[in-house]
């Protein structure tokens, strides 16, 4: 290696390590702060003199965190189920079934992605209010059963990569579209279905806007809303250690899911990005 090359390699790693520190440091401070004793949390100390693990149980005592987790999981399970059940047939209709006007309708699907949710929610709120669904998880979960544009788009990208010949062979054998979908397409497109399920899970777990509007009673809140309300209470008292402990409880499951599913996940992001 010439010295120029050595310098290049060193430079490259310096930039990468610098970036890595920038990306990882906030997590580190979050963890450290979450186990800091209160007396220290109010000072400028960055490293706790001892690890106060009881901060976590304090948070569970102060707010019904367990209840929030259950509420959030309920919303997640229902929205994930709804998204998969509704988007699979729709994406199939947009990829492997021929019908007149398919492209035009698909453009319509895509254009709904551009629509700001603000345009919709004022009126949706009235629909849910008329139905008597306010202060329940129904406004958050029922719409998931009616196929959202993003998941349709992502799933269609996966379906398009499947070989048409295999599908045609099944059709020649006399299988109807639903049978082809269930027995041929779904087993082959499992990574794609996993991807939309995971994206939906992440979204539902972290969503704040909808739950904040529709849920009122404390025992019905999801983690995101509960966390924001808790934080604004403890911010006054300077208990940033508790805020961070609650944040760890909120974020950790997502990071765990991400690590287990990173391959599916990365494929999903990549597919939405590059082919259209």
């Amino acid at each position: 290696m010439t010295s120029r090359r050595v310098l290049m390699v060193i430079g490259r790693h310096a930039v990468l390590i610098g970036l890595a520190v920038m990306f990882a440091a906030p997590f580190l401070f979050m963890l450290l702060q979450s186990v800091m004793p209160l007396s220290q949390a109010k000072t400028t100390a960055l490293y706790p003199d001892h690890f106060e693990w009881s901060n976590y149980s304090t948070v569970f005592d102060r707010i019904p965190l367990g209840g929030y987790v259950i509420n959030t999981l309920k919303v997640c399970v229902l929205t994930v189920t709804g998204t998969v059940v509704s988007c699979v047939p729709v994406a199939y209709a947009f990829s492997h079934v021929r019908w007149k006007g398919r492209n035009a309708v698909f453009v319509l699907v895509l254009s709904t992605m551009m629509l700001p949710f603000q345009v919709l929610f004022v009126s949706q709120y009235q629909i849910f209010s008329t139905l008597g669904w306010l202060n329940s998880i129904l406004p958050l979960t029922v719409p998931a059963f009616f196929a959202d544009a993003f998941s349709i788009f992502l799933l269609r990208q996966f379906f398009l990569t499947l070989p048409t010949e295999t599908l045609d062979a099944a059709r020649v054998d006399g299988a109807g579209e639903f049978a082809v979908l269930r027995r041929v397409v779904m087993p082959m497109a499992r990574p794609g279905i996993m991807a939309i399920a995971i994206f939906q899970f992440l979204f539902s777990w972290g969503d704040f806007f909808g739950p904040n509007i529709y849920l009122q009673d404390d025992d019905k809140l999801t983690l995101a809303v509960g966390l924001v309300r808790f934080n604004s209470d403890v911010a006054r008292l300077g208990e940033s250690n508790l805020t961070m402990a609650a944040s760890v409880v909120f974020v950790l499951p997502l990071i765990v899911v991400f690590f287990f599913a990173q391959k599916v996940f990365i494929e999903g992001v990549t597919l939405t990005g590059t082919k259209g």
């Binding site: 930039v15 990468l16 970036l19 890595a20 990306f23 906030p26 997590f27 401070f29 979050m30 000072t43 960055l46 059940v85 509704s86 988007c87 047939p89 729709v90 199939y92 209709a93 699907v109 551009m114 700001p116 345009v119 919709l120 929610f121 004022v122 009126s123 949706q124 709120y125 009235q126 629909i127 719409p143 059963f145 009616f146 196929a147 979908l181 992440l202 972290g206 704040f208 806007f209 995101a224 924001v228 934080n231 604004s232 209470d233 911010a235 006054r236 940033s240 805020t243 909120f250 974020v251 997502l254 990071i255 991400f258 690590f259 990173q262 990365i266 990549t270 990005g273 590059t274 259209g276």
Partner: protein, 290 residues
């Protein structure tokens, strides 16, 4: 058609009907449970004659002009350093990606803690003998704080660029080398044109995201207000969506609808402008983006 029915029903009930409804309401004075009263363009007049709209738009433009280039720039830098298969790259990719899994509500709370007086960042400033800005007490500094959070969560943009970079044929670089191109020339004349469709896509989705961003700004201003920090962070963080939420919570449905429509028209205009500009800077020989 049976296959399509979930989307069709959802489209009519949760999309088309609300669109028509809110368009109608935007020309009325309306509260929930009360009939709408037609007032023509009065809501729009009210919006355009109000400082809040200009302020909110100013903030949005600020976030787009300063935030997006930083976000995309660092994402391209990281992606181009990681594009080739090398040992250790997988670990870097994971590290850069993880922050974008964190929901806006949590990253908002996290950065609120990191940046507050006496927090880690202000300690860092002191280390260099400088005085840290009062991020959330000062309207001028609240927006850079938002940009910082956005930059931290650039993982998804980086991944999309990575995918784009991997698709560039090696032969193009080899040809450029034969012509005597250096590192920078290769980046400028091969990489940049080849990833321009990806850049276009990220600019477009980034702009739409900035226009509609809500959660983080809400968390910041909420925390600052309840925490009784100084100044008026509300004034600095009011993004458009927040304004609209306030109106909605006040029960001024007609006005909230009109705001939503202004926002929609803006999004539409920006999208169209970007699409029109595409020919000038996006390399069309690259497959993909339609």
């Amino acid at each position: 058609m049976a296959l399509l029915s979930p989307w069709l029903i959802g489209f009519f009930v949760f999309t088309l009907y609300p669109i028509v409804n809110s368009l109608y309401w935007s020309f009325t004075v309306k509260r929930y449970g009360q009939p709408a009263r037609w007032v023509g363009l009065r809501n729009y007049d009210l919006l355009l004659g109000n400082d809040d709209l200009a302020k909110a738009l100013g903030n949005t433009v600020y976030l787009a002009v300063f935030g997006l280039p930083i976000r995309i720039g660092i994402a391209v830098l990281a992606a181009s350093l990681l594009a080739r298969r090398r040992r250790g790259n997988g670990a870097y990719r994971l590290m850069f990606y993880v922050p974008s899994v964190v929901p806006a509500v949590a990253s908002g709370a996290l950065f609120f803690f990191l940046l507050k007086g006496g927090g880690p960042v202000s300690s860092l400033f002191e280390l260099f003998g400088a005085e840290a800005p009062v991020w959330f007490g000062d309207p001028r500094w609240a927006k850079p704080a938002l940009i910082m959070v956005g930059t931290w969560a650039l993982g998804d943009v980086m991944l999309i660029f990575l995918a784009g970079l991997v698709d560039i044929p090696r032969s193009l670089y080899e040809a450029a080398e034969l012509d005597g191109a250096g590192r920078w020339a290769k980046f400028r004349h091969v990489t940049l044109p080849m990833i321009s469709p990806v850049t276009f896509f990220t600019v477009l989705t980034g702009l739409i995201g900035v226009l509609q961003s809500f959660d983080q700004a809400y968390v910041f201003s909420q925390g600052a207000r309840r925490g009784r920090l100084t100044g008026e962070p509300d004034g600095s963080l009011l993004t458009y969506a927040m304004l609209q939420l306030r109106q909605f919570q006040d029960g001024r449905i007609g006005l909230a609808s009109a705001m939503a429509w202004v926002l929609f028209l803006l999004t539409f205009a920006i999208t169209m402008a970007l699409l029109a500009s595409r020919r000038r800077w996006v390399h069309t020989s690259v497959e993909g983006f339609g």
